[in-house]
């Protein structure tokens, strides 16, 4: 409305002139305009609902333990921003140019949010290849911790490691950018429902294929060729290669990624390029993707470097732990040793000897020697193969005590140097030299309470506890990817040997039991990190059938028949997300999204310039949209779209605005009868309000009355002459499935808004109650009292000072109407309860009465 129009309107009202009766054309024009406005109002409300749902989901994720990826943060933040923008657009339809400052604030907030969720990716300025002789620990940012540690071990400690070079993250970055893979990866990851195992496996395959078939940039290829020529020259041209992943984040204190990426052994030098691509592609194995998600790591936090080293022809190999992985205080060194290549130990494929070394006494204090019938050895040409171990060697200890002590001494040196307990992969050469292949921080199991004693003979027992705890579930045998895809959530994973591939299942596994394997394998490490109870090397599990209900007691080394409820509660999983890069990103994003600072619509601060977050904008738009809808009929003096008073035998005034199909017919006069209203939510609310007669105000204690009197002297809102707009009226906006109520009962302010349609996913109910006549402490107690009553009814609840807000969404129509009825009942019966909030006996009495009445509500007849 222009200034001239407004002036004319003002003067017209001043002299009390009345508009002539509307012409049919004018009525039709206003009807069309109103319908368009109502549609905008609907769109605005739907956008509001979606925005609030996405915000709630983000807040829940932030405070919970459920894993989520960067795609979750980015897509939810985008979704909130789009919905908020949509609200601004449609508020502008309702009130053109009235709130022009809003879009400017939105753009500013969006810009700040954009910086958080779309960080500028730094170009990696580093050599494409680095020889091991030049690598130090500090180079982990470009060669990964695995290669950085090996460089440090050789160049600083002077210990023997295989010669080689690292293909850095700069090369990986070049490869990806050269093939323009980043946007495509982003798109594919975001479009996939990663919680579905089949979708995850399909996505993994797609992403790996894109890398494996990518074109290697010529500069990367030339640099690799030149480094390889130099390495082969130093080895007299006769060597296979060990090509190993060395991604950022791998082998670090917080994350091991043990065995989740690929390594290939005894690769022919001619095949280095293809092997490099395959290992780079293994960044997207299902197990690595699940692991990253569980640990809140972004794609850019785990850039891939690859180590290329001379293959070591080991006569024996294995892993040394410098403390007990289940008990950090036990500092005896544990050496797992297998005949041939150490792969037998780290893959958990074959059982291994165990030597325990007391570092203080410099003595082997325990030996567990097992019969080793099979070993991994180098295959002539390329690759590795299994070979039967001659019987006379199989039963002999893999290591002499002197060799075990030497390995223990090296491991202890590494612990001293790196400053924390270490997990060391070693190889023993035929000439007796020990070569270090890898060293990384150990991951200890979470300290937990002992599992409850379980009576009866176990179904299976023995083996070694690789991750402590107890858990129940149904047996799920997994020997193939096909069986992995079929594993239900919460199952007990039963396997013949601990293939690191099954790490992809650990996020939805109750416990793991493996026929073979020991404490030093990759899957054992990752089980401990995830806090999943696990027993390896338990022996034959033929007795376990798919679907059997069992309880795994890892500490007691036993699998029992039947479920033991409550174990999960006793043993909460590790919160791997907390303080992770993605958790931090979500925290920073929420700063611009979630806080609600614009609270009081009647305050002068309630204006666009003061919105600080996207939540503030939703609050502002919603409030103004409701007012604009009411204003239309009045401003245009068109009775059809003006509020009508409910003609009913009730003491308070109820005004009804029909938005669309909320009345059974076109009502001409000023009044509407209850039976002429076709709004189902309004009837449900009304049914709840009248279901149980109100007993009147509660009997007040002396202190309650004093509180009211004191409050009346200091709160102008409570004084009689003070009148706000809508002070003593209750306003409904209705259509057939929608209702918005702005209500004031005395000093108690409430809003109820609900959509109860056939579209379950769009349905919602929001109820907020605020105010009271007593002091803030009692009013706040009343808000909490109402929240407590609603707590088991499916609402998400928020109590801030004396305001309680309850929200339920995505429910079937009938359920929404049941909840609306409960709200109707509470609207009438929680009035003035703030005054008894100092008296626990009264609180208990009213709590019991309200709960009892609510339980009977659904039996009351419906109007």
């Amino acid at each position: 409305m222009s200034f001239a129009q407004r002036l004319s309107e003002f003067l017209r009202r001043l002299v009390g002139s009345h508009r002539p009766e509307l012409s049919p054309e004018e009525a039709e024009r206003l009807t069309a305009l109103f319908r368009e406005r109502y549609d905008s109002f609907r769109v605005l409300l739907a956008a509001n609902g979606r925005a609030l749902e996405a915000m709630a989901e983000m807040e829940q994720a932030y405070s919970g333990t459920r894993p989520y990826g960067m795609d979750f943060v980015v897509s939810n933040a985008t979704s909130v921003a789009v919905r908020v923008y949509r609200m601004i657009q449609h508020l502008d339809v309702l009130a053109p140019d009235s709130y022009s400052g809003l879009i400017g604030r939105f753009d500013e907030i969006r810009g700040e949010l954009d910086e958080v969720i779309h960080p500028v990716i730094q170009v990696i300025d580093a050599p494409l290849v680095l020889p091991l002789s030049k690598i130090r620990r500090t180079d982990s940012g470009i060669v990964g911790a695995k290669m950085a540690n090996l460089g440090e071990i050789h160049n600083v400690l002077g210990l023997e490691v295989p010669p080689g070079f690292a293909i850095t993250t700069a090369a990986y970055s070049r490869l990806r950018d050269h093939n323009d893979l980043r946007p495509e990866f982003h798109r594919l990851i975001q479009s996939t429902e990663l919680d579905r195992p089949d979708a995850l496996f399909a996505l993994s395959s797609q992403l790996q294929q894109l890398i494996a078939t990518a074109e290697v940039p010529s500069d990367v290829q030339e640099t690799m060729d030149s480094a390889l020529t130099e390495l082969l020259g130093a080895l007299n041209g006769d060597a296979g290669l060990a090509v190993r992943s060395s991604a950022l984040g791998e082998d670090t204190a917080g994350t091991s990624f043990a065995g989740l990426y690929e390594s290939q052994l005894n690769v022919h030098p001619d095949n280095l390029l293809e092997t490099y691509l395959e290992i780079a592609a293994s960044k997207y194995t299902p197990q690595a993707m699940v692991y990253r998600r569980q640990h809140g790591l972004r794609d850019i936090d785990t850039e891939m470097a690859v180590g290329c080293m001379a293959m070591v022809d080991a006569v024996a190999g294995g892993v040394a732990y410098t403390s007990d992985p289940k008990d950090e205080t036990d500092r005896r060194i544990r050496i797992s040793a297998a005949i041939g290549l150490p792969k037998a130990v780290v893959d958990g494929r074959f059982d291994a000897d165990l030597f325990v070394v007391d570092r203080d006494r410099h003595a082997v204090v325990k030996r567990k020697i097992i019969s080793q019938k099979t070993a991994f050895v180098l295959r002539p040409g390329e690759g590795i193969s299994r070979r039967d171990v001659p019987a006379d060697i199989a039963d002999q200890p893999v290591l002499t005590d002197e060799q075990a002590l030497e390995i223990a001494e090296i491991a202890a040196r590494l612990e001293d140097h790196f400053g924390s307990p270490q997990d060391v992969e070693w190889a023993l050469l035929a000439d007796g030299r020990v070569v270090i292949l890898q060293a990384r921080p150990m991951h200890h199991a979470v300290v937990h309470t002992a599992a409850p004693t379980i009576e009866g003979t176990p179904l299976a027992s023995g083996g070694v506890c690789v991750s402590p705890g107890a858990a129940s579930g149904r047996v799920s045998w997994v020997r193939s990817d096909r069986e992995a895809l079929k594993m239900p959530n919460g199952a007990v994973l039963v396997i013949d040997y601990p293939d690191p591939r099954w790490a992809a299942l650990l996020d939805r596994t109750a416990a793991v039991v493996s026929e073979h394997g020991g404490i030093a394998g990759h899957l054992a490490t990752v089980s401990r990190e995830f806090g999943v109870p696990a027993i390896f090397g338990i022996g034959s599990l033929d007795v376990l059938r798919r679907g059997d209900e069992v309880t795994v007691d890892a500490d007691g080394l036993a699998v029992h028949k039947g479920l033991l409820p409550g174990l999960e509660e006793d043993r909460p999983r590790r919160n791997l997300m907390k303080d992770s890069p993605i958790h931090e990103m979500l925290r920073r994003a929420l700063i611009h999204i979630a806080p609600l600072t614009l609270i009081d619509p009647s305050a002068p601060e309630f204006r666009p310039a003061n919105v600080k977050t996207l939540h503030d904008i939703t609050r502002f738009c919603h409030e103004k949209a409701v007012r604009e809808m009411f204003a239309f009929g009045k401003d245009n003096e068109f009775p059809r779209f003006a509020a009508k008073q409910l003609h009913h035998n009730v003491p308070m005034q109820w005004w009804m605005l029909n938005l669309d199909d909320g009345f059974t017919e076109d009502i001409k006069g000023k009044y509407v009868h209850l039976e002429e209203i076709s709004c189902a939510p309004m009837h449900a609310l009304w049914d709840g309000m009248v279901a149980v007669p109100w007993d009147g105000p509660p009997a007040m204690s002396g202190s309650g009355l004093a509180s009211v009197l004191f409050e009346a002297t200091r709160n102008p809102a409570l004084s009689t002459p003070f009148k706000k707009p809508y002070a003593n009226r209750n306003y409904f906006m209705v259509s057939k499935n929608f209702m918005n109520l702005q209500s004031r009962f005395g000093f108690h302010f409430s809003t109820v808004e609900t959509l109860a349609s056939e579209r379950d996913s769009e349905n919602y109910l929001v109820f907020s109650l605020k105010g009271g006549a007593a002091d803030m402490e009692r009013r706040a107690s009343r808000a909490q009292f109402v929240a407590d009553i609603l707590s088991d009814k499916g609402f998400s609840l928020k109590v801030i000072e004396d305001t309680v807000t309850a929200r339920a969404s995505a429910l079937p129509q009938e359920r929404v109407l049941e909840l609306v009825k409960i709200i109707g009942y509470l609207l009438m019966h929680t009035r003035q309860l703030d005054m008894i909030m100092g008296d626990q006996r009264s609180i208990d009495h009213y709590r019991a009465k309200l709960e009892e009445d609510i339980a009977t509500l659904h039996r009351k007849p419906t109007t």
Binding site: E25, E28, R29, T31, A32, L33, R35, E36, D39, R42, V43, A46, D71, V74, S75, A77, T78, S79, A81, V82, Y85, R86, Q89, R110, L113, D114, I117, H118, P183, H186, R187, L188, Q190, S191, T192, E193, R759, S761, E762
Partner: protein, 145 residues
């Protein structure tokens, strides 16, 4: 009233599967795998109500395409569908006149609701124009190619 929808996405299998499912739900479905074909479909079928448009496509992308669509067919509602969550593109798309911006994967029910809401919006706009002009909307609302 049957709602006429044009699906535009370079992923042929996605368009075909979505088309089949929307057809089962009584929508009349047209398909295109790029923006240029989409413009031809719109020109050949002036009764299309709603376009579901992929943002990232080879050749002309969705954000450029929506400009063309809204310029030549201002009454047609456009729902942007993207596999690439991006604040700037999403808000930019809405500013260009998109009815909504949805992220893949989208639940079919959600998309159906959006198409129905977009169609409702289009009908109301047409009704308003009809009332204000005192005439019926027709091909006159479609601008010449």
């Amino acid at each position: 009233m049957t709602i006429k929808v044009l699906l535009v996405d370079d992923e042929t299998s996605f368009v075909e599967a979505l088309g089949r499912r929307l057809t089962l739900r009584q929508f009349v479905v047209h398909q295109a795998n790029d923006a240029e074909t989409a413009m031809t479909r719109l020109a050949d079928n002036p009764n299309i109500d709603v376009v579901v448009l992929d943002v990232k496509m080879p050749g002309t992308d969705g954000l450029t395409a929506i400009k063309d669509i809204k310029r030549k067919h201002p009454m047609v509602e456009v729902i942007l569908l993207s596999g690439h969550a991006n604040l700037e593109a999403s808000v930019g798309g809405m500013a260009l006149g998109a009815f909504d911006y949805l992220l893949k994967p989208v639940r079919l029910d959600e998309l159906v609701y959006k198409i129905e809401d977009a169609h409702r919006r289009k009908s109301l706009q047409e009704e308003k124009i009809r009332t204000l002009r005192g005439s019926t909307p027709s091909a006159s609302d479609e601008r010449p190619e």
